[in-house]
Assembly symmetry: C2
Homo-oligomer: 177 residues x 2
Amino acid sequence: MRTTVPTSGALHFSTRGEYGVRLMVELARHYGSGPVSLSEMADHESLPRPYLEQLVVSLRGADLVTSTRGARGGYELAKPPSAIRMSEVVTALEGPIAPMICASDDPHHAGTCQRAGFCNVEQLWQRVREAIVSALDSMTLEDLAEPRLGHPAHPQPALLAVQPLTERSIKEPVTQP
Amino acid sequence: MRTTVPTSGALHFSTRGEYGVRLMVELARHYGSGPVSLSEMADHESLPRPYLEQLVVSLRGADLVTSTRGARGGYELAKPPSAIRMSEVVTALEGPIAPMICASDDPHHAGTCQRAGFCNVEQLWQRVREAIVSALDSMTLEDLAEPRLGHPAHPQPALLAVQPLTERSIKEPVTQP
DNA sequence: TCAATCCTGACGAAATCAGTCGGAATTGCC
DNA sequence: GGCAATTCCGACTGATTTCGTCAGGATTGA
């Protein structure tokens, strides 16, 4: 199964993103009931607590959660779940959304690509970035925290007009013969 | 500058993707003029030729380029540039577009997430994936190959309705104090 | 025949990242 | 006041991934 194509597929989040989002969802469910300790969440989500500690540092730095130290302490959301866009969460956990250095919103990266304004490939990355950001902006923590919501119909007013997407538009990658 | 946040930002392509796309753009510019050798392209794009050889394997396997061996041989596009969507190119180079294993179109991955149908986080990844795919579907190689096209106005009928995107919707990640 | 090219497989070295560990600081509770 | 539950902080490691290299074989035009 040796293949030179990246194993995990294109444009994937790190597991940091997945764990962090799950963690935030869990916090959203407990919103208003006082702080929740990391041990609790680690148990409930069966994730390693020491690792969660690291993630929460980023979330706290982005003012998404507040912490209360000491016994009976823990973490809670800094804002109501409906006020937290998923783009904030993902950005806090994984850094700026930049499919390519050409296409970063981080001014620190700007000017890194000496081909800017020269190659049109830049346009592609920009488009992809914008698409990702609007998708992430279209959902809040509240949307994900509801215990179980209607299956087919989206409760959201479908902010971004995703195409029907023929579902056959992607081809298999080149892996095995 | 020690930060636990991934250095390269969220949802980034690998450099494999960037090089490969550049390579395809170069091929598109020479479309119809016979095969182009890898050495030529390596020189022109100042990229290591041995590495390009690897990339081209994936592109050939996806039927995006054809090769002619022997002296004066080289590679050329298998289809006209306008018939090659960028989603095909990216998928060939980087594998299926899957922001999370939950959200992959690869049937081989399906069923990997035991939380499917249980957590709604899955919805988020799916939306992101669809957004990425339609962005990539909305551009063809031809769009990128034109030497220089209009700066502000998009020549494309803006297939996907990207939101105006306030440009201030993302916050800085948590890096330095 | 020769030289240019594709083709194949395997290899090395560097970066990155998931996850761990130990201990210090803070605070509720008995 | 002391204990126990917590957050907080910094550094470390081990494994995985990936960029890039290398050597040599197969194919073909001149």
